[in-house]
Amino acid sequence: MTLQEKNNEEDSPRFRPGDLVTVRVDNPGGHFRTPTYIQGQSGRIEKLCGIFPNPESLAYGGTGLPAQPLYRVEFPQSQVWSDYGGPAKDKIYVDVYQHWLEPLST
């Protein structure tokens, strides 16, 4: 397989554990797996879960390529929900595909 072919098949991971990211705010007008409540939130990459065909394409009979790195991203609960009732250390983890993530801009 040439490098070019590989690039068409999957996107290379852009992020590493510990990187700070922001989830894009979007409604691509079809099937997607990024819950609305987490969009626009900033979090920390916990780990790369693997590289998987893109569900936004699979849902319509597509190939799912280029496959997307999938990350488990950690968010502080008290940041996600302004009225969160539990301790400040509580977290929520969501698995997010790479094309939904951007490096955190400060």
Partner: protein, 97 residues
């Protein structure tokens, strides 16, 4: 405004109903049909999710779990040309007697 299936954080104080219902035969078979068709490459999980998400919000909320699965199966079978709406309606009427 999130779509109807995108449920995380929707405002509700409704308690979690922990009563289990015994699955009817048709529910068991709808579950199995989805799985069999998946093995045969005729149905993907993401297609099925997309079909469920295409139900109107009213239908989504009114339907039980396997009713949604049934509605999704119909959407996919028709879309893929496996069955037509007409023959399905005909068979439905026949079974209803």
């Amino acid at each position: 405004m999130p779509q109807v299936h995108d449920r995380g954080g929707w405002p509700t104080d409704e308690p979690i109903d922990r009563e289990e219902h015994v699955l009817s035969d048709w529910e068991l078979r709808v579950d199995a049909m989805h799985n069999v068709l998946s093995y045969k490459g005729l149905r993907r999980t993401d297609e099925m999710r997309r079909a469920i998400e295409s139900l109107s919000p009213e239908t989504y909320e009114a339907c039980s779990y396997y009713e949604r699965w049934t509605a999704a199966l119909e959407i996919l079978l028709i879309e893929k040309g496996v069955v037509s709406k007409e023959e399905l309606d005909l068979k439905h009427a026949e079974l209803q007697g």
